[in-house]
């Protein structure tokens, strides 16, 4: 038997979805707006959590209460009213629309371009479906392959019930509750998320993807992800979906923690395409995310992200290179168009000796958008022979957008070797005319130039994700040159 791949799973999703049952609509279960200790307790109780988890959340709430929302990022937005949000809503099974005809045709056109199947289109836009992929049954096949290897891949809620010892040990160990305003908030009220554990010496045979779990757990606005790679193990994890996600929740504050024990490797790839607001800059999601990984000895963590959505993005996937000879990588493409604002980058904290980090950031700004790279490279006093290479490239389209680079470098060890390169370029009329003259129309020419610019990062994505991401880049910039 050859190994079970994602393609097999997809095939199965296609062919088996009709075999499984119908679901019954349940009443939406939402608690009143506002945030207090009582609300936190209610959330924990509704989820049937053990006392230690409730206490952990409450402590987070107390921390959050006295914290202030950060203002240092290069973004402008109306601050959310945290007392005007409802912090718990059971998966709402009530469809938003009765048929695809009612869905925004623009959204459907995008789905079509991305090659998303009709059923998936319905799922993603919130159309009622008479038959759904039964998450339990699909997950069963999926999980069987994984469990043979001892891999745990489930929702964080399930992990709290089934694997409390792992959750207790690692949750908040990389992103402590005190870390920042949004991390504290998430810790207090997180709705659900993913949990993954790869046992010692195991190479996960397939890419783990939340995409296949879209109906297993509504990710909600406060998502919590915990990935633990035990010694000498390997996992590649894909998060997000290229399909545009329209969501009524304006604020998204997720926390992702990665733990790579000795000689383990975690590859974490994200494609983020939350609703960016309309062309006039109204609406859109605020995406305030804390992502951080811890590397033990000779471990490696790679963050790869393609960020095209959200009205405001505030996100810095980081690596703490604690173990000697550990490696951190950050590859990022951030696209902003219309009135989008992104302040994104990474932190590479070198604690161990001979630690190495690489940062490749590609920012593409169009329309009236603002795109900032913010990165910290920190070499501690005992991190002998640490090395970092950073490259930040910005591509501008038109005269009304902005690209900004804020690199911070703190070195406390004189054996460190740090390189930083930055470029800013503009898609020029000369380039466009050159392409036009070769028979390539302007939209296609821009796609070609942008893909060329982003190539180093696209190459780091798993093959299939890369193809989708490439299409997504083209779509995100459509109409951005008049």
């Amino acid at each position: 038997m050859s190994k079970y791949t994602e393609d097999d799973l997809r095939e199965e999703l296609k062919t088996k979805e009709y075999e499984y049952g119908f679901y019954t609509d349940i009443e939406s279960d939402t608690i009143p707006i506002g945030l207090s200790e009582e609300v936190v307790k209610t959330i924990s109780k509704k989820k049937g959590e053990p006392a230690w988890m409730t206490d952990w959340r409450l402590e987070a709430f107390r921390i959050w209460e006295v914290m202030k929302e950060p203002e240092w990022a290069n973004v402008n937005y109306v601050k959310p009213d945290f007392q005007a949000i409802s912090y718990y809503s059971a998966p709402n099974k009530k469809p938003k629309y009765n048929s695809l005809d009612e869905v925004d045709p623009e959204l459907l056109a995008t789905f079509k371009k991305l090659g998303i199947s009709l059923d998936e289109q319905k799922k993603l836009s919130g159309v009622a479906m008479d038959v759904v992929i039964d998450s339990v049954s699909v997950a069963t096949t999926f999980k069987k392959t994984l469990s043979e290897k001892g891999i745990i891949f489930c929702s964080i809620s399930e992990a709290i019930q089934e694997h409390p010892e792992l959750v207790k040990k690692y949750i908040g160990s990389v992103v402590p509750r005190t870390d920042n305003f949004y991390a504290a908030l998430n810790s207090a009220v997180f709705s659900d998320g993913s949990f993954c554990y790869i046992p010692k010496g195991v190479k996960c045979p397939m890419e783990l993807s939340t995409y296949f779990r879209i109906n297993q757990a509504g990710t909600g606005q406060f998502e919590r992800t915990l990935v633990i790679a035990d010694k000498e193990s390997y996992v590649s994890y894909l998060e997000g979906c290229t399909a545009p996600s329209r969501d009524e929740n304006q604020l998204h504050a997720a926390v992702v923690e990665l733990i790579a024990l000795d000689e383990a490797e975690i590859k974490y790839s994200t494609v983020q395409n939350w609703y960016p607001g309309n062309a006039e800059g109204q609406g859109g999601v605020y995406n305030f995310v804390t992502k951080r990984g811890l590397c033990e000895k000779r471990a490696k963590i790679s963050w790869t992200q393609v960020e095209t959505g959200s009205a405001v993005t505030w996100k810095y996937p980081s690596c703490i290179l604690k173990g000697d000879y550990s490696v951190g990588e950050f590859y990022s493409i951030a696209v902003t168009n219309n009135f989008q604002q992104a302040d994104t980058g990474t932190k590479m904290i070198h604690l161990g000796k001979h630690t190495k980090s690489t940062i490749i950031s590609k920012g593409i700004s169009a329309g009236k958008s603002q795109n900032s790279y913010r990165g910290l490279v920190q070499i501690s006093s005992r991190a002998d022979q640490a090395r970092n290479f950073s490259q930040c490239d910005s591509l501008l389209m038109g005269d009304e957008c902005g690209a900004h680079t804020f690199p911070y470098i703190e070195v406390k060890n004189n054996t460190a070797k740090i390189e930083h390169e930055a470029t800013t370029s503009k898609i020029g009329e000369d380039q466009i005319f050159y392409c036009n003259q070769r028979g390539i129309a302007t939209e296609k020419a821009i796609a070609l130039i942008v893909n060329g610019f982003s190539k180093e990062v696209l190459n780091k994505l798993p093959m299939e994700f890369a193809v989708e991401a490439q299409k997504l880049l083209e779509i995100s910039l459509e109409g951005s040159v008049g």
Binding site: F433, Y434, N436, R438, G439, I440, K444, L448, N451
Partner: protein
């Protein structure tokens, strides 16, 4: 094939072309010479459809169809090719990927399917051998860090791949050493046939030793002031442009 009648064009309200008349038939090679600033490159850009220039008077026809309403890419689909004097860099896009995209976009413009991969590879191999281009070159980013000679050779490679009806070579000889010029000229001569036409824009006579023109036109102050056979180029070389300038009262 190409008929230009009383063509006037300007950029930023500055008149550059002031009444060009030119007819080019299939199978012919025309050379356009002239001093700096006479409008040679503008003429090439206007034929190719660059939007920065405004055609204020006159017409350009290709095979009896007016080009006036056509965009640059539509003109390319009709078989107009411009070898740029300064080819632009596109980092991250390989020579192969670029030409593949160009060929398929041209095919799409004509309502054809993409060229099958094996056919594409075969053609790339054949044409790159013709121009003595090695495999490594094909995977480099388009024009990025290319020497002057490499850029021009790549232009002619694209011409060979696209097989245009009308190829305009704008100062293709500039930046070329004698060996590179021979390779480029050999390439162009191989591609020449009775169904296509070539316009060579050059400042100097030397490229015309290799690509021999049927007609030579002298452009000065936005007009063609003298036309003749290939011997006109030699005469220009001997006497210099001052001879033309003093001959013409503008």
């Amino acid at each position: 094939m190409l008929k230009i009648k009383d063509l006037h064009a300007s950029i930023d309200d500055k008149d550059i072309l002031r009444g060009i008349n030119l007819e080019i038939k299939a199978g012919e090679v025309h050379a356009i010479m002239g001093p700096n600033g006479s409008g040679k490159s503008t003429l090439a850009s206007v034929i190719a459809g660059r939007e920065d220039y405004e055609v204020t008077q006159g017409s350009i026809e290709l095979d009896g169809t007016s080009l006036e309403e056509l965009s640059a890419e539509e003109r390319a689909h009709k078989g107009i090719f411009l070898s740029f004097q300064y080819p632009v860099e596109i980092p991250g896009v390989s020579v192969t990927n670029f030409i593949k995209t160009a060929i398929n976009e041209n095919r799409k413009g004509k309502g054809l399917e993409d060229m099958p991969a094996n056919e594409m590879l075969k053609k790339i191999k054949e044409k790159s051998e013709l121009l003595e281009i090695d495999r490594k070159f094909l995977s480099r980013s388009l024009n990025t860090g290319f020497s002057g000679g490499e850029k021009k050779r790549n232009e002619i490679f694209q011409m060979a791949m696209l097989e245009p009806k009308l190829a305009i070579l704008d100062e293709t000889d500039s930046g070329l050493d004698i060996d590179a010029m021979r390779i480029v000229a050999d390439g162009v001569n191989t591609l020449k046939n009775k169904n296509n036409a070539i316009v060579v824009i050059t400042h100097y006579q030397r490229l015309l030793d290799y690509i021999v023109p049927d007609f030579v036109h002298v452009l000065y102050n936005g007009r063609i002031v003298k036309s003749g056979g290939k011997e006109l180029a030699l005469e220009l070389e001997a006497k210099g442009y001052d001879w033309i300038k003093s001959d013409v009262t503008v």
